[in-house]
Subunit: 225 residues, 2 copies
């Protein structure tokens, strides 16, 4: 596989998804860190050389290919690994069955459209910026996002409680689990107590027990718990 | 292929994506319509029989499988069609090359996380509900969503202006084009004038010229233009 560089901010669990996918698949990944809070993803150099949209994560593949969007980067790693691997010992993270594959993507799109915009956004507002620092436009959205976040967790909990194998799709861990795990296992940063969603909590422990799992830690003084 | 039923509201361009994908691939699709505005996706029957999350579209595959998320449904149709087709005359809509495939998904995740939450949401607020009917929480978000929507269109326009073949990814139309086209070609419903983004406008015309294209029309008195 080509040399891979993850352009990231360690504060972001969207970036962590990619690191976790790479770890589970034993794919080496170089990390280059930028601080969103310091505006380091909006500098002329970043916009010119990494992403004109000014967001991270971006997975750099070889010298000149830059792939934005966390879930697409996870997909790239898992698909490349599965096609290039001579070993059957690594998990593939993408089901072979077309319907299960579509269901995996369904959860991944749900994660971006329903989960991330509520639960990850609340984490950024309440945990990173701090509630007292929110402007009025953000402040009035908090209650709605808490309500929507609870609906997301209810839906995940109901699905997992009925899941035969304890994963979102099929018999094994897939990218759906990894992408949903990222902001779910730190949902307390967003103001949610996972004790209220026991099937989600149990599933989080299941993900943490997977071979080669790496925890989400960040290095900017906000703490890693 | 199994019998397919699209549970939809004709007002939704997320639903249209799936109809357009099916049309381009000549896949028969039965439509069952519900009115979001009348709460028909929140009835006990809908929650029990179609989706516990209470949202459309949902693609029903055979008798008992229900696949939510528009982009995942498009993926399912395109992948099934490509694996079951004996003909090479239909477009496949999914590139063979792994990197192009990942780039297609990158645009599809971008569509859900950046485009849909701004441009489609503005359409629902301004065109469907009407600006005078917005509550305060929504009203204060309009300016931010207009700004974000412009950034999305700028980014798409720059990408298309540099695209060698006029599509988002590779040499042919892919699901990235279909998913982005849905709410882009009716961006005037969201308050955007596509004259400001000529490469986007040209690309919309290109999509409309694809064989078997079907226009987005809806049947609820809001008009289809």
């Amino acid at each position: 596989m080509e040399h891979l560089i993850l352009h990231q901010d360690p504060i972001s669990a969207n970036c962590y998804k990619i690191s976790l996918t790479a770890a589970l698949l034993s794919i080496p990944l170089e990390h280059r860190s930028y601080s969103i809070m310091k505006g380091e993803t909006r500098t002329p150099e970043f916009l010119e050389n990494v992403s004109a949209y000014g967001r991270i994560p971006v997975l750099q593949i070889g010298g000149s290919t830059f792939l934005p969007e966390s879930n697409a980067a996870c997909f790239y790693l898992a698909e490349k690994s599965s096609s290039s691997s001579n070993s059957t010992s690594s998990p593939t993270l993408i089901p072979d069955d077309p319907l299960l594959r579509a269901e995996m993507f369904s959860w991944m799109f749900f994660e971006q459209n329903q989960h991330e915009v509520n639960i990850a956004t609340l984490r950024f507002w309440l945990h990173v910026l701090g509630e007292k620092n929110l402007d009025g436009t953000r402040r009035v959205q908090v209650d709605g996002k808490v309500k929507a976040g609870k609906q997301v967790l209810d839906y995940m909990n109901d699905h997992l409680a009925k899941s035969e194998h304890g994963w979102f799709v099929g018999e094994n861990i897939t990218l759906a689990d990894i992408c949903l795990f990222a902001y779910t296992h730190i949902a307390h940063h967003s103001g949610f107590n996972l004790d209220e969603w026991p099937a989600v909590q149990k599933w989080c422990e299941r993900v943490k027990g997977v071979r080669n799992f790496v925890p989400f830690t960040f290095y900017n003084g906000l703490g890693g718990s």
